[in-house]
Amino acid sequence: MSEGKRVVAGEAILSGLATIERSQDESRNEMLETLVREHSRLVYRIAYAVLRGHHDAEDATQETFMRVLRYSSKLAAVEDPKTWLARIAWRVAVDRSRQRGRTREIALDDPEKPIPEAASSDAPADETLHGAELIAALERVIAAPPEKLREPLILSTIEEMSPREVAATLGINEAAVRSRVFRARQILKERLAQRLVGNR
């Protein structure tokens, strides 16, 4: 009889632990779903900024949240989930880009290249055409700056990312972000000016 009571007591302890584990899992699941709803667009834009393709960017976004699911036990301890997520997304996208070995310059006739919003703009036709031409030229020359300068430039173009968040994502300080973005822009302006003058 006493042995039976001991066995029942042991099983009660285990079921109690299981209940606690389940409630912790539920709160982690809620936090994860909130992250997806609030930041999936940002993650996608970070992935697209590197990979320049919808399929690849979506795959990278899925992988980013899969990693977050695996590390979900650490979610409660994360102070800045947005930056933490941006850092994971950046690493996933860069790893995929390196695995593929693609450069950031892409051909104009690439089917996955985003179509510039030329037709629906309210600006005059000649300015709109020039804008589309500029974007196309930018797509070609964006690989011109070295990687150290290009990375902060790409991240800083994403409207959801502040200089502080860009710095935290790349693991550098804000002053370095500003300096590198400035130098990258100088290089781009020179290249763009050469292309635009050459096309005229």
Binding site: R6, V7, G10, V36, E63, M66, Y71, G131, I135, R185
Partner: protein, 213 residues
């Protein structure tokens, strides 16, 4: 105006022109970079991500329930084994009743190793030849003479030294014995969970592709 003034004015004009051109290029670059990054995901991205996460969680939860079931079974087995070990260590009363004379002649509880002696032949009827420090046993003839035929099979044996020590410990500290068994099973559960987590973390570092199962 002298030639120098013309040159100066010309250079100032050129510098002003370059600045203006630079400003225009800056503005156009800003606009181009903004459009470069302003990409919208295809509709339904959130739902696809959430669906993928839920399916992943379901398969993980199934594995977790299996682990809890196994851990519960292990804990129950450990507790029952501890209880059975304690019970099996008790001497059975009916066997002792068959030899009343031997009981009278050996009043001391079996806590010390008893060595067969010629001066106490009755003792030899109760005690099987135990192992001495050298591990020697009594010769087979003496064993046959000393051991009467019993009705119970298998023949009961007196406790070994280690069994006696365990029996006395469990008798004195019954609660602690059960708690130790329980704590050991819980530690095994925690170790298994950590191993599973480590295995999953190793998978994440290698950056596997996403799959929907």
């Amino acid at each position: 105006m002298g030639e120098q003034d013309y040159n100066d004015a010309g250079r100032q004009g050129q510098a002003g022109g370059r600045d203006a051109e630079n400003d225009v290029l800056d503005r156009e670059l800003d606009a181009a970079l903004a459009k470069y990054a302003a990409i919208e995901p295809r509709p339904g991205l959130e739902e696809r991500i959430l669906a993928n996460l839920r399916s992943q969680r379901t398969s993980t939860a199934d594995r977790a329930w299996w682990k809890w079931g196994l851990a519960g079974a292990l804990a129950a087995v450990v507790v029952v084994a501890a209880a059975l070990a304690w019970i099996s260590g008790k001497p059975s009363p009916p066997q002792i009743v068959q030899h009343p004379s031997t009981i009278e002649q050996s009043p001391n509880p079996p806590q010390m190793p008893i060595v067969a002696s010629d001066d106490h032949p009755a003792v030899q009827h109760v005690i099987r030849p135990t192992r001495t420090a050298g591990g020697h046993r009594a010769p087979p003839a003496a064993m046959a003479e000393a051991n009467p035929k019993l009705d119970v099979f298998p023949s009961p044996r007196p406790l070994s030294e280690q069994e006696k020590i365990l029996e006395s410990y469990v008798n004195q500290f019954r609660q602690e014995a059960v708690l130790i068994a329980r704590a050991r099973s819980e530690q095994e559960i925690r170790d298994q969970q950590e191993e599973m987590r480590d295995a999953d973390a190793d998978e994440g570092q290698h950056g596997n592709g996403t799959t929907i199962r």
